[in-house]
């Protein structure tokens, strides 16, 4: 499963990076690689069944437990 994920990400890199290097878009390359590594870590955590807290839990916590503004 991890191997499959890595091959998918390798495919994405092969699809995007050559064009960026040819056009000398270094800033785009940095942003692309940092976002892609973030995506890789998040999806690896999904595959390894690590529980990532949902962003909606953050909203619930802020509105319900801190501000007490929720409807129910």
């Amino acid at each position: 499963m991890t191997f499959l994920l890595m091959s998918v990400f390798l495919g994405i890199i092969l699809f995007e990076v050559p064009k960026l290097i040819r056009n000398k878009h270094w800033r785009e390359l940095i942003v692309f690689s940092s976002l892609l590594s973030m995506a890789f870590i998040l999806s690896l955590l999904q595959i390894l069944d690590v529980k990532v807290p949902s962003p909606f839990e953050g909203i619930n916590f802020l509105i319900r437990d801190v501000l007490h503004l929720n409807y129910k």
């Binding site: 994405i12 699809f15 995007e16 064009k19 960026l20 878009h25 800033r27 785009e28 390359l29 942003v31 692309f32 976002l35 892609l36 973030m38 995506a39 998040l42 999806s43 955590l45 999904q46 990532v52 807290p53 949902s54 962003p55 909606f56 909203i59 619930n60 802020l62 509105i63 319900r64 503004l69 929720n70 409807y71 129910k72």
Partner: protein
């Protein structure tokens, strides 16, 4: 340096707004739990209250011609605070993308492919959206006309075919619910489809005729609102009290169509219509997220960011455990949370623009 080279005409903008509102037909279910059979009243109230807010967004966009939401934030709040506000908007948009991917996956899982893992549906859906976003806003806007007309056609056809099943006494008694629930329903309605038109501050700069922007956006809102109203009235009139219980009232209502045992099981059409208009909505949000990121980081092109952002959106959608938790958030906390983005910040921006007499 311009990130987007496409241009859209005013009729395309109108249909894009209309299709964008129609993309929330699936999520009308959140408000129905609060308002019961008075959902149509909440819908009308939300539509009426969102028109002045849409005017606020359009006024802001027209004060800074050719600049989108994030550039306006920079101009209004200054470079540093503006970046922070823009960052929050990007996070909100990314979250909306991921939640809509979840809605699409969950919907198809419930009604069409019960055995398929949700991630497969999400990946296919996100792939199509990413393709559209890479092609640019012009392509998405050109598609919108067909999709909107198709959705309207489905809504009208099913309405007419179900006329003999309808009991208009299902709407009585009007205003049977406590006012607290009605306010909640209106707030949900405003937060989930109607106020999201703030996203069009990212699209309006690429319209070719600035003078017609106001009428196009308002007409688009009316198109979307009236389609939603037709759907809501159909569901409540056909199903009655059952509409408050079932997962997707549209599907259950259309399932009842039976013309001489020949025309039956038209709910697949409803599914197609929902997924098509949802594609439009997710694409616009996806586009705004990616464009905003590129703007914030001063990139020359937004295209390389499309795939990573899509994968992040899918993984965020997968962190949700169940649709029950999701419904709780969408009904009780998210409407309040979104008020600051959809009402407070734009009004503060407009106030600052008036006081500082921007743009200089």
């Amino acid at each position: 340096m311009k990130l987007e080279k496409g241009e859209i005409s005013s009729s395309q903008l109108m249909f894009l707004v209309g299709g964008f509102i129609q993309g929330s037909l699936l999520t009308l279910a959140f408000a129905k739990d609060a308002t019961k059979h008075d959902l149509w009243l909440a819908l009308i109230a939300a539509l009426m209250m969102s028109l002045p807010l849409a005017l606020v967004y359009i006024t802001l966009a027209l004060k800074f011609p050719g600049q989108n939401l994030f550039q306006i934030n920079d101009a209004v709040f200054g470079p540093y605070l503006g970046k922070l506000v823009s960052f929050q908007y990007i996070m909100l948009f990314l979250m909306i993308v991921s939640s809509n991917l979840w809605f699409a996956g969950d919907f198809f899982l419930t009604f069409f492919f019960p055995e398929t893992p949700i991630i497969v549906i999400m990946i296919m859906f996100a792939f199509i959206c990413a393709w559209g976003v890479r092609a640019g806003i012009e392509v998405i806007a050109r598609m919108s006309i067909i999709l909107v007309l198709f959705t309207i056609l489905i809504a009208l056809t099913t309405f007419i075919l179900l006329l003999n099943e309808m009991k208009f006494s299902n709407f009585l008694p009007i205003f049977d619910i406590p006012i607290h629930d009605f306010i909640q329903g209106t707030n949900i309605m405003m937060a989930i489809p109607f106020n999201e038109v703030i996203i069009f501050m990212m699209v309006i700069p690429y319209a070719n005729k600035m003078k017609q922007v106001k009428t196009s956006v308002l007409y688009g809102l009316m198109i979307g609102g009236i389609t939603s109203l037709i759907v809501v009235i159909r569901n409540t009139a056909v199903l009655g009290p059952l509409a408050d219980i079932v997962v997707s009232p549209s599907m259950e209502a259309v399932r009842l169509i039976d013309l001489g045992e020949i025309i039956e099981r038209l709910e697949a059409l409803v599914g197609i219509g929902l997924i098509l208009s949802m594609f439009l909505k997710v694409s616009v949000f996806y586009y705004a997220t990616v464009l905003g990121m590129a703007q914030l980081l001063k990139l020359r092109s937004y295209v390389p960011l499309v795939i990573p952002v899509g994968i992040i959106g899918i993984t965020l959608a997968l962190t949700n455990e169940s649709s029950i938790q999701f419904t709780y958030t969408a009904m009780n906390t998210y409407p309040i949370f979104s008020l600051s983005f959809y009402i407070v910040l734009p009004l503060i921006s407009l106030l600052i623009v008036k006081i500082r007499k921007l743009p200089k």
